[in-house]
């Protein structure tokens, strides 16, 4: 067991979670969305007035908006009055033992090598009693405290660090940004907050794993990460195991702020329930992720997206400061009837700003996989450079792969390169690998791994291994 696994194991065995959960579990709001509900959310979270104001403004703005129609995805209209905005994430039935869990799900856990206690947690089985009175989570927090790093739920941060939250919340993704960002701003239930002080290098990879409660916030998650001048942080979001969440709609907002000379590396593995083989059920994942990079700073987004029925997600960088760097590395896999419309926006404002986009889309079954990206070079962005590479791989002939690159350049000293390829997993490749002793499944995995190599290389080590396994599971049975 690696150190991280051990920490993880210990955390899942601690009472940290329960203390947090019980107090809100008794509360259940009626379905529907109105100002009264928003006031209730704010009240129950004991929020200051400015936070309530923020929510209400967002809500009033949301009422004036319409759902975006431009993504290349189709899904039935969401009835926003039919959602429970507070207790909904807690609605999963509690189970007594793993015996009651869907055996398919357990098989997947096994393949991913998820520890037993964590399996229970993920499938909502009550986790057994405490092992150690001083939980590892607390020890972990102490280490961070010594360095002045703040890492906790955003609700805590609103109460304990209002000056920071006030300064940064909505500064990168204002509630006016888009339909789902407005909705999230109005009703977000919880999420993570990270602050790394000036010149501090966060000594460990921060992960939502360590904050169990964040996993329970589900639907409208709000994450805010601030790296102050010269600070560094690597943040891992999500979970490689499939979460059978009953919530249909997930509309999260993530904001990153990299002050001068700071660096933020944000890695995601998204594996929400994709629906069944016939395309029934599954999560709608409508996420707004954006970072602002100040002078000489760097923001890297790395994502492995294999879950959700519908994904709509464009982690972006505003390269405001001179010499700032933005990176986007993505693997998006769709199988069966999944639909993904994902990509990035790189907005070059500062001089000599650089951005790199590497997108790998894999479509199988009857799925549809689109890359949508914008590279914008403002007039002020003297000497800006971008390199984009968008590769699509098709499995079978019932799926689709699409690329929508938008390039807007207003400064003629800029260099923008775009490369795109589409390939198929060919029978010849599979036979070649078969002839060297590999099964067809292993052959497909090898071909896919080779295709995704540039992205795997930049994933944090532990994520990379799990991500590879996840890809294997997602594409299982996609080549007959």
């Amino acid at each position: 067991m690696t150190e991280n696994d051990k920490l993880l194991n210990d955390v899942t065995n601690s009472d940290y979670k329960w203390g947090f959960v019980t107090e809100i579990e008794q509360v259940e709001f009626e379905k529907g969305l109105n100002e009264n509900i928003i006031r209730k959310i704010s009240k129950i979270k004991d929020e200051p007035d400015w936070m309530l104001e923020f929510r209400l403004k967002a809500f009033r703005h949301w009422l004036t908006l319409e759902e975006p129609k431009w993504p290349k995805v189709k899904y039935p209209k969401v009835d926003f009055q039919d959602i429970r905005y507070y207790a909904a994430p807690k609605n999963k039935p509690k189970l007594d033992s793993l015996d009651e869990v869907d055996p398919e799900l357990l098989k997947t856990f096994e393949k991913l090598g998820i520890p037993l206690e964590e399996q229970k947690l993920l499938s909502n089985v009550a986790v057994d009693a405490v092992f150690d009175s001083v939980s590892v989570a607390t020890t972990f927090k102490e280490t961070l405290n010594e360095k002045g790093i703040i890492f906790g739920s955003i609700s805590e941060a609103i109460r304990n660090h209002p000056e920071l939250v006030k300064k940064y919340l909505g500064s990168v993704v204002p509630y006016t940004d888009n339909y789902y960002a407005a909705l999230n701003s109005a009703v977000f239930s919880d999420g993570s907050f990270v602050y790394i002080p000036k010149g501090v290098r966060c000594p460990m990879e921060l992960s939502t794993y360590f904050r169990i409660n964040a996993m329970e916030t589900g639907q409208f998650e709000r994450t805010l990460i601030v790296a102050d001048e010269g600070a560094y942080v690597s943040y891992l979001e999500g979970c490689t195991a499939p979460q059978r969440d009953e919530n249909q709609l997930h509309a999260a907002v993530v904001e990153l702020i990299a002050e001068d000379f700071a660096e933020i590396k944000y890695s995601t593995v998204q594996n929400w329930y994709p629906g069944d083989k016939e395309g029934k059920g599954g999560i709608y994942n409508f996420v707004t992720k954006r970072g602002i990079a100040h002078k000489n700073s760097k923001i890297s987004w790395t994502q492995v997206e294999t879950g959700s029925a519908v994904t709509w997600k464009y982690p972006s960088c505003i390269l405001k400061g001179d010499n700032s760097i933005g990176e986007f590395y993505s693997i998006a896999v769709t199988n069966n009837y999944q639909q993904a419309d994902t990509g990035t926006k790189m907005i070059h404002i500062g001089k000599n700003t650089r951005s790199t986009i590497v997108s790998k889309g894999i479509s199988a079954g009857f799925s549809d996989n689109s890359y949508r990206g914008l590279v914008k070079v403002a007039k002020s962005a003297e000497g800006a450079r971008n390199f984009s590479q968008c590769d699509s791989m098709l499995m079978g002939d019932k799926c689709g792969a699409h690329t929508f690159p938008y390039i807007e350049v207003d400064n003629n000293s800029a260099t923008v390169e775009h490369e795109a390829t589409t390939s198929k997993v060919s029978e010849d490749q599979i036979f070649y690998l078969n002839q060297r002793g590999l099964s067809t499944e292993d052959a497909v995995n090898m071909i896919v791994n080779g295709f995704c190599k540039e992205v795997f290389r930049v994933l944090p080590m532990e994520f990379a291994v799990e991500a590879q396994k996840l890809l294997e599971i997602s594409l299982e049975g996609s080549v007959g």
């Binding site: 060919s426 078969n434 002839q435 060297r436 002793g437 590999l438 071909i447 791994n449 080779g450 540039e454």
Partner: protein, 252 residues
């Protein structure tokens, strides 16, 4: 080791092999020659289990087992190796990862332990040296950006690494200059032993100057119409295929 009886096979609805018989024993090298379209590559692909080829009739026994019933990967694991006429590119996967995976898959099938990385590295270095292959080719993606000659050499490297019982070389000499031909032949000769066998499929006699066959067979219209020793190849080189074709047609 290999016994083929009355093998009939078709590809894309076209009958290619029309009753082929062949027996290969351990320690032997068989050359299969013949004009274009006679079914040489079909034979190689059918033996390896290429799903695009359909067997209509006949029996193929390999080391006492029915080869036809096996999946392509199981044939490979049992010890059938095909050096491809047109080796395939696998982008993003290094030659060494590919070979290590293949070796371990085969070992797993034989209930052997995985090869240790140390053993693997010394083995690949040894084999690459025989083929005068640059180490950089080992860490490059499988066949990607390789020249024609490098691809063929890479096939022989795989042959040496996997060390099968039966090697089928499908036109491995095509597209090679004389220096590359010598190197590839050196590799095949290094592979040869009393326990294994080789089937060389070729158009040209020149390969047989470097890899001496025990038997030469002429394949024509899907059947072996003449077999002989290595001198048959020289005779074919001198006289062409017409005289054997006539012999065959006379028989019909």
């Amino acid at each position: 080791m290999l016994s083929i009886k009355n093998l009939k096979a078709k590809v894309e609805e076209k009958d290619i092999l029309k009753g082929l018989n062949l027996i290969v024993n351990p320690g032997e090298v068989h050359a299969i020659m013949g004009p274009n379209g006679s079914g040489k590559s079909t034979l190689a692909n059918v033996l390896a289990g290429n799903p695009n080829y359909e067997i209509i009739d006949g029996e193929v026994e390999f080391c006492g087992k029915n080869l036809i019933e096996m999946s392509p990967e199981d044939r490979a694991r049992e010890g059938v190796f095909l050096a491809f006429q047109y080796p395939i590119e696998i982008p993003g996967i290094t030659n060494s990862t590919f070979l290590k995976t293949a070796i371990d898959e085969i070992r797993k099938y034989r209930q052997q332990e995985e090869m240790s990385p140390k053993e693997f590295i010394s083995l690949i270095k040894e084999k690459a040296a025989i083929l005068e292959m640059d180490n950089s080719l080992i860490s490059r993606s499988v066949n990607e950006g390789f020249s024609g000659g490098e691809k063929k050499r890479n096939e022989i490297l795989q042959l040496l690494m996997l060390n099968p019982k039966l090697a089928i070389l499908d036109e491995t000499d095509s597209g090679l200059d004389i220096d590359a031909l010598k190197i590839v032949s050196k590799g095949v000769n290094a592979f040869k032993s009393k326990e294994n066998a080789t089937i060389l499929i070729t158009h040209y006699q020149r390969l047989l100057d470097y890899i001496i066959p025990d038997f030469v067979h002429v394949l024509y219209k899907g059947r072996i119409i003449k077999s002989g020793g290595k001198e048959l190849a020289l005779e074919l080189e001198a006289k062409g295929y017409d005289w054997v074709k006539e012999l065959a047609e006379d028989e019909e």
